[in-house]
């Protein structure tokens, strides 16, 4: 049975529809990713799941409870890391973790958690004096200190340096191994690819795709991705009409063309018909990044 069920979720801010008819289910013990561009509706979706916002329509069940009407048990069982962590300036790391631990019936050991998150050296540092990365790790600690069944993590590694990101991924994997289900919001594709068992791609407030990272990649871009510049603007419509090409993205004059194994010769031929030469041409096997660009390339 699913541990989080979202059905036909819709949320408007005034006239603007931010989340439209979103449906997905998260299975116990998995790391479920929600990815999408800025403003796609990811955060609003998880805020509805955390009970911080009231959906306009649709139903949400978390561990069988409705976060709107029966929030009390969920507050004990769901740990939430908000996009912006929020604490008093003068509270120290240790005090904050101890304080939050006191809110829960069966908390983790604060000292151990602080250690696992690499905060031992700054345990006595006041919140206002922490670096961005330390604040981020503290906010992860506060989400986990209640020994939750579900952890909702929004923009987990934003502001962390590469080493800290890797350490955090390691920690999240360990947390999952203890049986915690994780709902992860991110816009980092490497993070989603590395951590998530399944991913919902949110675009324009809707679920554009939902699958494992490998299947998402295969589904939209089985084959290769070509990246190049052209000496003058290319006729994108002609490129798109090639049978082997599945998508063409133009970002600051750099073209990203995804397609099958035949894409390379066909694209080169088409370009020379347009009397263009591909510059700085790179050919990659498709990854989640490419799948994401294809899935969110056009307005829904």
């Amino acid at each position: 049975m699913a541990i989080i069920e979202v059905s036909n979720l819709t949320k408007r801010y005034g006239e603007r529809i931010v989340v439209e008819d979103v449906t997905f289910a998260v299975e116990p013990g998995e790391i479920f990713g929600v990815i999408g561009r800025n403003g796609a509706g990811k955060t609003t979706t998880v805020e509805c799941i955390s009970g911080l916002r009231t959906p306009d329509s649709g139903t949400i069940r978390v561990l069988g409870n409705d976060p709107q009407h029966d929030p009390a048990p969920l507050r004990r069982l769901v740990g939430v890391q908000l996009q912006e962590s929020a604490l008093q300036d003068k509270i120290t790391v240790r005090e904050a973790v101890d304080l939050f631990a006191s809110f829960y019936p069966d908390p983790a050991r604060p000292a151990q958690l602080i250690d696992e998150l690499g905060l031992a050296a700054s345990a006595k540092t006041q919140y206002a004096k922490l670096s961005g990365g330390q604040k981020q790790r503290l906010s992860i600690a506060l989400a986990l200190v209640g020994n939750p069944k579900i952890a909702i993590l929004d923009e987990l590694t934003t502001g962390l340096d590469p080493q800290a990101r890797r350490d955090t991924w390691q920690l999240i994997s360990q947390v999952r191994d203890r049986g915690v289900t994780i709902l992860l919001v991110t816009h980092f594709m490497d993070e989603a690819e590395r951590l998530c068992d399944r991913i919902a791609v949110i675009h324009g407030g809707r679920v554009a795709a939902l699958d494992t990272p490998a299947n998402l990649t295969a589904q939209v871009a089985a084959g290769q991705v070509l990246r190049f510049r052209t000496s003058s603007p290319a006729d994108l419509a002609a490129l798109r009409s090639l049978p082997s090409v599945t998508s063409v993205e133009d970002q600051d004059q750099e073209l990203t063309v995804a397609g099958t194994q035949e894409a390379l010769p066909q694209v080169i031929t088409e370009l020379s018909r347009q009397q263009l030469v591909p510059l700085n041409l790179r050919v990659d096997q498709a990854n989640l990044d490419d799948a994401f660009i294809v899935l969110t390339g056009e307005r829904a």
Partner: protein
Amino acid sequence: MNTHLLRSEFRLYFRDIAAIIFGLLLSPLILIILGAIPSFREAKPELGGQSVIALYVPTMIIMAIAMVAISTMPVQLALYRERGILRRLSTTPVRPKDLLLAQAAVQFAVLLMGSLAVLLLGWVAFGVALPGNPAAFALIYILCVAAMFGIGLMLASVSGSKTAQGIGSAVFFPLMFFAGLWVPVKVMPEALRTISSFTPLGAGVQALQDSAIGQWPQLLHIGVLLVWTALAWIGAIRMFRWS
């Protein structure tokens, strides 16, 4: 009340030098300065045989209440909302209102210490008698705190911390004028004294002064305080936003 939050708020309060000065030290300090003026310590027939400093003891207590209630506390509460601290708490088993309660309890406790310090200082240093009617004094004190905390909560409701600070200061000076901070209410012209009786702090200071010399306060002043308390709390409860 969540005792962990309460302890935490207490600890944090005493890390903030500005809060300690305004909540705890400023009123006793001003009393010392005023008390250092010899003529202020003499009994004056036009003040009903009281000294100026004896009138200033209740005024300083009122000032401490006003400072905490319409400056320190609303700014703190608005900050807790602005920063998302209330929102963060709302995802835990603890309710955001527990933090507001803990914060108010800390502010009240510190205020009480400051007020006792003013009373003791007036008594020990300047020979001002302790309140002659302690029950009335305590009752009026509580009423003043209730009215002013309500007004402060209203300030924290309508605005962000910066605006709360601005409005707080703008409200503080007229309220304190009518509480006799610059000219004791007893020597104000009739018209001003009447206006004073209808302001929360004017009514409060006059009622405290009456209690200090052993009388029961006027019903008018008690009534005015009750009305302000009711209005402020109804307003605050209606207007308060959690995020």
